[in-house]
């Protein structure tokens, strides 16, 4: 990426996020798009955001890749891995060469390497004294992010935290946890909807996500609303699949 286009892309990423915040948005859709932008800007293979639930467990809320094998690498870090360490300490964790540190996180390193990840950076998402979650950036080759890139990653995470937690309520711990829970529950419904579509159309989960998003965008509806309608059987999965076929999202 040349410096000019990169600067343009960075501005675009911030502007897009701020426009969405004003317009009324779907938090999972917004964060999914945001992770894709972050992965491109920071030149990493995959990026994912984990948030903490009321029990103190990390859950994936958005990722730049919907491939199940990638989602698994994020989910695994509920139990072990750089993102979990980043969450506990509230500070960034850099792992330029995962293979060299496989003793530290044996289960995590094995799975991450098996899907082709060689390096990882985890950046905390904080709100004053509270750590809300962690943002993980994966590379397919060993190497560290430079200081500018790490600073940019941290800035992008700060902006995204605004999408999650309304600033006015940020001092109330229960309101904050309710807002995080909303995002996490939305993600659960999304996964359930992917399952419904996978069964109806005999699809891979990754394709099911694309079908859902295509339908929501073309109808001008929020992703989570459409997902909930599919899960509650108010909207037939076949209708979404037919729509995807007519728009060439599916063959």
């Amino acid at each position: 990426m040349t410096p000019d286009t990169r600067e343009h892309d960075i501005i675009h990423a911030f502007v897009e996020l701020s426009n969405e915040l004003v317009d009324g948005y779907d938090v999972v859709d917004l964060l999914s798009e945001w992770t894709v932008n972050c992965a491109r800007l920071l030149d990493v293979a995959a990026a994912g955001l984990l948030l903490v639930d009321g029990r103190g467990l990390l859950h994936l809320v958005a990722a730049s890749s919907e491939a199940t094998r990638h989602l698994d690498v994020f989910q695994l870090q509920r139990d072990q891995g750089p993102c979990l360490d980043c969450f506990h300490t509230g500070t960034a964790v850099s792992v330029p060469d995962l293979a060299a540190e496989s003793d530290r996180w044996p289960d995590f390193a094995r799975v991450a390497e098996s899907v082709g990840f060689a390096s990882l950076h985890a950046v905390p998402m904080r709100l004053r004294d509270t750590v809300l979650g962690t943002f993980g950036l994966f590379g397919t080759t060993p190497g560290a992010l430079n200081d500018d890139d790490l600073a940019l990653a941290q800035a992008l995470v700060h902006v995204a935290s605004v999408a999650l937690v309304n600033e006015r309520s940020a001092s109330d711990r229960h309101v904050v946890s309710t807002q995080l829970q909303h995002a996490l529950t939305s993600r659960v419904v999304l996964e359930q909807a992917k399952g419904v579509l996978a069964a109806v159309g005999d699809l891979e989960m990754e394709d099911a996500f694309a079908v859902l998003r295509r339908y929501a965008r073309d109808r001008g509806e929020k992703l989570t609303v459409v997902a909930a309608q599919v899960v509650n059987r108010e909207l037939a999965g076949q209708e979404l699949i037919d729509h995807a076929r007519s728009t060439s999202v599916l063959r």
């Binding site: 009321g54 229960h174 419904v189 359930q192």
Partner: protein, 246 residues
């Protein structure tokens, strides 16, 4: 005496593990709430479409009676908590500003309850009931006790799932309830639940109950069953517990 959230988590979980699954576990959890959360009574209600509504577990007969007023009058904090999937706090039912549930408030004040705190009981995205905490004195619940109440509400989803499953002849094991919850709260379980919604033509709660019942019956984890469903190596039959593999 301040108690850490981690200690509360352990105590609440231990109370359930030492009881028989189902109603006894629900009662034990409510009694643990009284012991650890600075309240005088607790009750677990089942509130879910397609199944009978009402009070399930309680810390005592008087708490059960107070909780049942909500179903008698068709109003109350637990119904609102379940409908909105958010906690509903009523620190003083006798305050002139408290106008949300006049019939319910009148009845429970007569029974000596001034404050009610209701937490939705959710599992994955599904709300199956509410946990009510009752106190004789007015005033807010402390932050720590509120957080403990949310932990208890998480645990309460297990006896409620057992209750739904028992109508189908399922049974449960005596594993650590936190471990059981952790096994259900996973990406592959959400996705497999979605597949079952379509394959079995059931709602999300029923789909989760069926997945869990199969895990218990085959001595596997919910995650293993979910992966088999996603990979299409396991298909659950539409009717009850008959299964086939292919």
């Amino acid at each position: 005496m301040a108690m850490s959230l981690e200690d509360m988590r352990v105590e609440l979980g231990a109370a359930m593990t030492s009881a028989q699954p189902g109603l006894q576990a629900a009662n034990a959890l409510c009694q643990a709430c009284v012991e650890w959360l600075g309240v005088d009574g607790a009750a677990i209600s089942m509130i879910h479409d397609g199944f009978s509504h009402g009070t399930f577990g309680a810390s005592s007969e008087s708490s059960r009676r107070v909780d049942e007023f909500q179903f008698t009058f068709g109003q109350g904090p637990c119904l609102d908590a379940a409908a909105a999937q958010q906690m509903v706090l009523a620190p003083d039912l006798d305050s002139p500003d408290e106008i949300r549930w006049p019939a319910f408030a009148g009845a429970v004040l007569g029974d000596g309850v001034r404050a009610v705190f209701a937490m939705p009981i959710s599992i994955t995205s599904i709300c199956v009931g509410a946990l009510d905490l009752f106190r004789a004195d007015p005033g807010p619940l402390s932050d720590d006790h509120l957080a403990g109440g949310l932990l208890a509400a998480d645990l309460a989803s297990l006896p409620l799932l057992d209750l739904i499953a028992s109508t189908k002849g399922s049974h449960v094991d005596d594993e650590d309830p936190w471990v059981q919850l952790g096994q259900l709260d996973r990406l592959e379980v959400y996705q497999a639940t979605g597949m079952l919604i379509s394959q079995l033509d059931v709602d999300a709660t029923e789909a989760l109950v069926r997945l869990r019942a199969h895990a218990i019956a085959t001595n596997g984890t919910a995650s293993q069953v979910a992966i088999a469903i996603i990979q299409r190596s396991l298909v659950l039959e539409r009717d009850h517990d008959h299964r086939r593999s292919r």
